[in-house]
Structures are given as C-alpha cells and as structure tokens.
Symmetry: C2
Subunit: 356 residues, 2 copies
C-alpha cells in the first residue's frame, strides 16, 4: 500500500495576543500507523474551544504555531493496514479527540474520552512528540477509533458541528437518562451545542424545558423542539418548576447562571451537568443548595465513539441539524473567531476548505 | 383513650451569644393527633447541628427559648388512635425530622426528608404554630412516620446517635450503591457520623478507603472496618487512587477539603456527596475539576423512615455502634456543646435523662 501524505497546510497562529493573525504554513501530520485514517478536510466548525485556546484563555499555546478546529468532516484519502471500518473516498469526521491509550479500563469501557492519556485534536502532542494540529487545514490523520462515518443523510456542514458541540451535549444527555417520561432542563442557549441539546433531548423522547436569559431565542428554542421556554431574568422563574425536572444540562458559563434557583427545580437525586467551562470557579456554590433534594452538579467531556455513532444515527433518522450562521471560506477564520469571542455569533460558523 | 401529657420540661437557651446558658423550663408539646406517638426521653445524642443552631451559626433562633437535641431514644407513653406500629412501653427513637406533608410525591415515594413542608425536630414550628422542641428534655410527641422502633440488640445510648448522624450517612451510602464490588471513600473522620459511615459502608459490603487529615485516627478507622487509611496531608496522596473509587462520602467541612484531589480518584460518572454543611461556599470548585471523569458533587439530608429501619436492622445484625466519648447527665449539656464547638470531642456525646 502507498504511503500516506506526510504533511498538510493550515491556518495557524503563533501568538495568543494576535489570535486572529492567521498564517498559512505546512505542518507534519501524525506519524502513520496501521490503525490510522487520513482524510482531506472539506469543512470545519468553529467551536468555543478554538477561541479559548487561540486567545490564551485556557493557557499558553503548546507549540510555536497552532492550527485550531475540531469539528472536521472530509474524505478518506488513505487507510492503514488494520483499518477495516473505513475506505478511501468515504466521508468521515473527526472531533475533539485524536488518541487515547486504547488499553485501559476506560478505553475498553467506551469511556476513551476519559482516558488519562487522551490527546486533544490540536494544541497537544502525540506520544512520539509530533504536534497535533486541527481542522482549519487541508488534512488530518488519526487512529480509526477517533474517526466517525458520516451518514449520507447529513450534509457535511451540518455534521461538522455535531462532532464536538453535538457530542458534548449528546453524551451527558444519554448517560443521564434523557428519554421518554423524563423532563430535561436545558440552560444557556447559545453556541455550545444548545441547539443540539434541545433537539437531541426532544428526539430522545424527553420533555424539554429551556431556561434562558435571552428571550429573543424563544422562537428558535420552541421550533427546535423545546416544550417550554423560561426566562431566567424573571424573579421567581424557578418556583413553577419546583420538583419538576429530572436532569439539567447547562452549556452556559456556569459561574454566572442562577444555580440555586435551577437546582431547586430538580427532583430528588437529580443532577445538573455543566458542559460550559468558564474560566472562573462556580460562585457561591454550597452543599446546602443541594440539601433540599439531594441534587448534585457535575461536568462532562465530549463523548465516546459509541455515543458519536449513536448520535449521528439519531440525527440522520430525525433530520437533526444545527442552526448555522454562515459557511465561510477557511481564509475568513478570523471573522468567525472574532464573532465567537464577541458573542455576536448566534449559533455556529462553519469554515469551508479553500487551501486544497 | 386517655389524653397524653400536654407539656414537658427541657434544657433550653434564649440567646445564641450565651449558648451554654441552659435554663430548665416547661414547654408545650405538639398538639395531639390520632397519628402521634408520645415518648418519655431516656437519652439524646449531641449533634453538630445542635451547636450550629445554639451558637447562631445557622441563623437566629426561631423562638424565644429553644431546646436542642434530635438523636432521641425513649419509651412510648401514649399512642394516638391511628397508631398501630407502636405500643405503650416500647423503646423507640426520633431523629432530626418530626413532620412533613405526608401527601406529596416525595412523601409518598420514601423521600419525606425532602418534602418542602418538612418540620425540623427543634427550632421550627408545627403547622398550627406550636414550636418544635428537641430532646434535651423529658418528652417529645410526633407523627408515627417519624418514630423508629429500636431493636432490642441496640443499647439506647448507641441507638441515639444513629438517628441523625447515622442516618445522615446511611441514606447517601445506600442511594449511591455502597455494597459488594464497590469502593467507597470516606472523608473527614470526626463527629458527624464518620464512624458510622465507615461501619455502614463496610457492613454493606463495600471496600472502604478513609481519607483524613487526622493521622491519629488511623487505628480507629481500621478497627471500624476501613480497608485503607490515607493521610490527605501527604503530597500526591490521591495519585495512587486514580480511577479507583466509585463513590465518596464527605462529612468534613467541604470548603476546606482537597476537593480536586479527591474528585480525581473517582471512576467515570462517580459522585462525591458532602453531608458536612460548612458555613462558607466551596472554594474554587470549577466544572473543569470534574471534566476528566464526568464526576459530580452533591449533598444529602438525613434519610427516610424506610432507610432508618434498614439502618437499625443492619446495626442490630452486625453489632454496629458508635464510639461514644462519654454519657453525661443532661444537666451537663453545656460541657458537651463546648466540646463539640471547640472540636475537642473525639466522636460523640450522649446525654442521659436527669429531669424526669
């Protein structure tokens, strides 16, 4: 079998102070392995994580030049000898993770996203030292465990945002029982997958209550499948929902949401998961706030391949797709990044290949 | 049937600034109801809650004069016409709750401790306005739902601390699956039921790891059934326990425990419940601290009658009993309260009747 391409080109930055100063450079792809899949990138979603990383909000860059992007859809150009699941020409996706040890209990238990040796799609390093670079680029190579087949029914630009934003909300929803007979609260309608969260919770069979401080998103929420829309800026908004909610998924900056009020709506032993990762700690969270119903608050990190496949199947069957603000050529990444940074993005930007 | 006694005498205080200035006064018991059980009090445990209340740490007193104590064991002197479960002369106990609505889903679902109309055993009011007064007194009357039969195998002074401290740890342990094949972490060995937590978790069949900053309690912990004792003052104490613990129960002042390290020991989707209720919020708790294993932190509030009966049965069968520092005459309540307040109590004081 022929050797796969060794390099790709991408839009990267070198300095978090100039986080929209993208330069096009060539970079080395992952050292090829018999389990690897190489793909030419067609589209890449712009995720809040990209902005946190490029602006330095989550710390310094791990390499002198970093390509962001981990909502990647493209076409397979090469597969290693061990790869049976994919073939050249097939449309596939890569999300926020590109490797794990694949040997530990977590990896063997469909929890590879919680493997302590997990490697992020960009701004990280493979075990051999090669830098991982993201999807604002021409190609990516990674282990087949972290590659997902995209169903024909889903357009590439609709599939891309599912692979981080979608999976990030789908995994905790299914793990926490969102389904028939359950009432799920969704908090923080905005970029990070909330439009997916509403749709997934609805199509999984749950009753969906959206809690939002953006009343102008009410129509969107209801049209996506929310049963009720509650404005959290109204005093006493939570009273009516006391003991009504089985599970709450928050994609908001959790340190600024009305945590006490939201927790009061949970049934006994209920849970609130925050997939929003604000820079600051939760403000004023006391055990007492969960004493009246044995509630708990937790977090979650993307999802497993098993969950990704389950999500893509559901999306294909139910016609679930994101609301996309605009599909831009990749060279306009700066516009998308600025818009996410300034919170003028309504839901999601997707970048389309223009380097290849 | 004869009318039950209308009043009792107790040791109460009027001013949180002089929280050991007990006076003996007569007070009105709960207005009798056909579902009520009246008992003469034999012993009463001294709980951390008593100190929080008497010192004003949890707020002002709700009445001009308050009798603390909610770990009560005594003998039935009267039962209402609807009471079939208990008979006069029987040894019974009352814990931290004396009423709830008994009509809502929570009450009907063995979650009466989470009923929004729950009435605390002292420093609260019954719906008709009568003040609830605690067990540093000669008698108490309450609804049969909040009265527990004490098995013959358990001595009164051993049973008393089970009714708040014991139940407070037993309920979350059983709700969160402590049992064979599970590893449970216990944090904050001290007054609030940790000696029960170790014993219950052990006798429920779980492997028990105690995390403590008091190395001088190691022998006690191991003798009570802990499989391992970990000193949290050693750097990197948590490393060895990465991904090893299914569930953590903390009875410590949670805002000062090494929360990040402890959470790192949890398996995927694990949980830490704090039954300690510090006055301050958790310091620096961020969703990120739970992103690597989808962990969560929560709280819990005493337990249901169903759980109390299950606990007392287990304790009787397994010979579980608290470590008691001293059984004091009730007139020495001040000594016990000061000792809990100054943290010189090792585990528990129990007060013995001396007014009747």
């Amino acid at each position: 079998m022929s050797s796969p391409t060794a390099t790709a080109k991408g839009y990267g930055i070198s300095n978090t102070s100039n986080y929209t100063d993208f330069s096009v450079q060539e970079f080395k792809l992952k050292t090829p392995h018999a389990d690897d899949v190489t793909l030419d990138i067609e589209v890449c979603g712009v995720c809040g994580s990209d902005v946190h990383t490029l602006t330095g909000g989550w710390g310094d860059l791990s390499a002198p030049w970093v390509v962001a992007g981990h909502e990647i859809v493209g076409k397979v150009t090469h597969v290693g000898d061990n790869v049976k699941e994919f073939k050249v020409g097939q449309r596939v996706g890569v999300g926020a993770q590109v490797l794990s040890c694949l040997k530990c209990d977590r990896c063997n238990g469909d929890n590879e996203q919680y493997c302590p040796e997990q490697v992020d799609t960009y701004n990280a390093k493979f075990p051999d030292g090669v830098e991982s670079q993201g999807g604002y680029s021409t190609a990516i190579r990674t282990h087949q465990r972290f590659v997902f087949a995209i169903p024909d029914a889903i357009k590439s630009e609709d599939a891309a945002p599912m692979l981080c934003a979608g999976l990030t909300v789908f995994s905790p929803l299914v793990r926490n029982g969102a389904g028939p007979g359950k009432t799920v609260g969704i908090v923080g309608i905005g970029g990070l997958g909330v439009n997916f969260a509403i749709q997934f919770a609805h199509h999984l069979g749950a009753k969906v209550i959206v809690f939002s401080h953006s009343p102008n998103k009410k129509d969107d929420a209801l049209s996506l499948g929310a049963d009720e829309f509650v404005s959290t800026s109204e005093d006493g908004f939570a009273d009516k929902y006391f003991d009504k909610i089985d599970y709450i998924l928050s994609a908001a900056d959790a340190n600024s949401i009305p945590l006490g009020d939201l927790l009061s709506t949970l049934k006994v032993d209920g849970k609130l998961t925050s997939v929003g990762l604000p820079d600051e700690a939760w403000e004023g969270l006391k055990p007492q706030m969960m004493a009246s119903n044995a509630a708990c608050v937790g977090c979650s990190h993307v999802g497993s391949k098993k969950e990704a496949n389950q999500m893509l199947k559901l999306a294909a069957e139910k016609g679930i797709k994101p609301i996309i603000d605009e599909v831009l050529p990749m060279s306009q990444a700066a516009k998308a990044i600025e818009s996410v940074k300034n919170n003028t993005v309504r839901y999601r930007y997707v970048l389309k290949q223009d380097l290849a």
